[in-house]
Amino acid sequence: MDLPLVFDSQLATQLFVNGLTLGSLYALIALGYSMVYGILKLLNFAHGDVYMVGAFIGYAILNGLGGPISPTIAVAPLIVLMFLGAMLGSGALGVVIERFAYRPLRDAPRIAPLISALGVSFFLENSVLLLLGAQFRTYNSFLLGSDHPKQFIPGPLSDAVFVVNGVNVQLVQILVLATALGLMVALTLLVARTQIGKAMRATAFDREAAAMMGIDVDRVIAVTFFLGSLLAGAAGVMFGLLFSQVYHLMGFTAGLKGFTAAVVGGIGSIPGAMLGGVLVGLAEAYATGYFGGRWSDLIVFGILIFVLLVRPSGLLGTRAIQKV
């Protein structure tokens, strides 16, 4: 076993920053799992691959606009375009997946859409493999805008590092955290205060009753898939900006962690997914930082099992009252 390092507040703070950034990605992915599960009671295992497709759309836009080093437009609008393109593209993909892979199976036994979800996952992975090959594609975010010294960001994105009491915080981390937070707040407001949000909550509570009240359940489900996939697309671009490389299998591990986050937080619960994502990110960062890479997955999934044993419905999940 790797011996834990002596406690060091600087290290602990650095790991907190790292974990929070990673956790915000997991939270965005977890939200998609949770929203879909809340409405359809379906574990959408293709969700991680929608996130992968979002990352590739961001990559295509980045390269379509001149590439990371000499983009043809300023860095700030470039990043905005990457996010918009990836979010809309992933959202549309989510709607298509729902329409053709899940809707026909809505009244089938629950195992059928689960298998369909796995099939879609493999379909997306292998489609990207066939279309784009197995090699890693790089956002080169560490060099993003390096030939544009007078643009919004002074020099390469990664050069903008703030050192606070010995803790490194990159501008890209702040960008990712702020974007993730903004999206989560927007989603919360949408679900809590809009007509479609009310319809989503009603459908999640009782789909049949919602339909009888005049809610277009098909449309609500499609919107749910759109929103969940939209967040996954944003997470894909964030991943590319943070970690630079995208590849066709990147959705598997991230999807697994996002699913874990959703379950830890209480699958079906939006605040739970956010909390779960952050917890999983922090657990991974601290486990790696204090115990080494061999232990991180063991600890993260150990936490999942522990949480489920203590609170089977997750940290913020509620036990549904069942009709008998």
Partner: protein, 404 residues
């Protein structure tokens, strides 16, 4: 009740996922039992050598190491293209996707190639763990298999694959010795971090370098990370003290090592990165001031230039180059075995063992001949001296410059 059942299903799925992740990280698939020494039917059976002769190529064409396997496949096929252009008789390739690190796939590929009676020999497989699990099927089928990347020393020195297994790369002990010696005597490092990538290739090299450095009195911090599944190394970087002078990363995924290096620099740490041959990838690993060890290849060879302008699409794909040499070794043996109009796999093996490719014709830049017995650190199937690793330093422009 339904909610509880759903939670139970979720818990089971999560438990399964946890076990899968842990198992994948620590998987060591036991070697399949080797075939008896006596020749099997397919070993002795004669294949009529018509105009077309078939060789197998086993590589991880998809999966996490797909980028490396694609290089190997492309290089091996490039050899076949060139060969077919200049020979009346033609070679054709049967390819198998071993999907490293999933060794179950490697076994299936080996069994498929061994049972295909038209296959006379195999280029590959890529990983040492794949070689281990494929040995049984290949030996049972009497096939020679020549890897362009599996470097674990014991694959040859344990003697169990003698006469069947060959490689066109030097082994880990040669590489580890070269690297440890350079870190100690040229970089004068007294504090080194060694980070294995939780796979057979990487842990073997890490163990060798760690042992040699410790024996030389160097303070070694051993770390571990699963390069195939981890995408954020910032917390691992946080574990490395600022006083560390060299970080040795014997990994195979150059983009991941590039990210690790960028995160190391972003954290303000100045340790010199030292990569293994798996990171000899000028397109994807270019942290200034870093070093990589590399297969000995003749980069100035016209073949490399032609590859770059042709199937390489502007890239050298040097990791795959030894697979070209492996295909060359195999094709020459097949030609000799077919000289009388028919060939057996046993004949092909015999002629592979007798390989003697002169320096002027070798894409590796030196004569290729094989050791026939154990002479540590070499074993039967290893290339004879002067095959050894070379070292590159990456300059500020990202260019690989060979160091003495």
């Amino acid at each position: 009740m339904r909610s509880r059942r759903a939670t139970a299903v979720a818990a089971l799925l999560a438990l399964g996922a946890a076990l899968a992740v842990v198992a994948a990280a620590y998987a060591t698939t036991p070697e399949r039992p080797a075939a008896p020494a006596a020749q099997s039917g397919s070993d002795a059976a004669l294949v009529k050598c018509g105009k077309n002769r078939t060789i197998g190529v086993a590589a991880p064409i998809t999966g996490p190491a797909g980028s490396l396997g694609q290089q190997q496949l492309t290089w091996a096929k490039y050899f076949v293209t060139r060969y077919n252009r200049s020979h009346k008789n033609k070679l054709q390739v049967v390819q198998g996707d071993t999907q490293l690190p999933d060794t179950a796939q490697a076994i299936q590929v080996a069994e498929r190639l061994a049972s295909n009676s038209s296959v006379l020999g195999v280029v590959g497989p890529a990983g040492s763990q794949e070689v281990q699990v494929s040995t049984g099927p290949f030996k049972a089928g009497g096939l020679a298999f020549i890897t362009g990347s599996a470097t674990r020393t014991t694959l040859t020195t344990d003697g169990t694959r003698k006469g069947y297994f060959y490689r066109t790369v030097p082994n880990d002990d040669q590489q580890g010795g070269r690297v440890a010696n350079y870190i100690r005597s040229k970089l004068n490092a007294s504090r080194v971090a060694v980070i294995d990538a939780q796979n057979s290739y990487s842990t073997g090299l890490s163990d060798t370098v760690e042992k040699l450095l410790k024996a030389a009195g160097v303070n070694v911090q051993r770390e571990s990370v699963n390069e195939a599944t981890v995408s954020d190394f910032s917390s691992l970087v946080a574990r490395i003290p600022a006083s560390t002078q060299v970080v040795y990363v014997p990994w195979q995924l150059a983009p991941k090592a590039q990210l690790f290096g960028q995160q190391l620099r972003a954290a303000g740490k100045t340790a010199t990165l030292f990569g293994s041959d798996g990171l000899n990838d000028p397109d994807n690993f270019k942290i200034p001031g870093s070093y990589v060890s590399a297969f000995p290849v003749n980069v100035s060879s016209p073949i490399v230039k032609a590859y770059r302008q042709g199937p390489g699409g502007g890239k050298n794909d040097l990791f795959g180059l030894p697979s070209y040499a492996a295909a060359d070794v195999l094709a020459r043996a097949v030609d000799k075995a077919c000289a009388n109009g028919s060939a057996s796999r046993a004949e092909v093996r015999k002629f592979v063992a007798q390989t003697n490719i002169p320096k002027s014709q070798s894409v590796l830049g030196f004569r290729i001949r094989y050791t026939q017995s154990v002479k540590l650190p070499l074993g039967p199937g290893d290339m004879q001296v002067p095959a050894n690793y070379i070292l590159y330093r990456i300059n500020n422009n990202g260019v690989y410059v060979r160091v003495p």
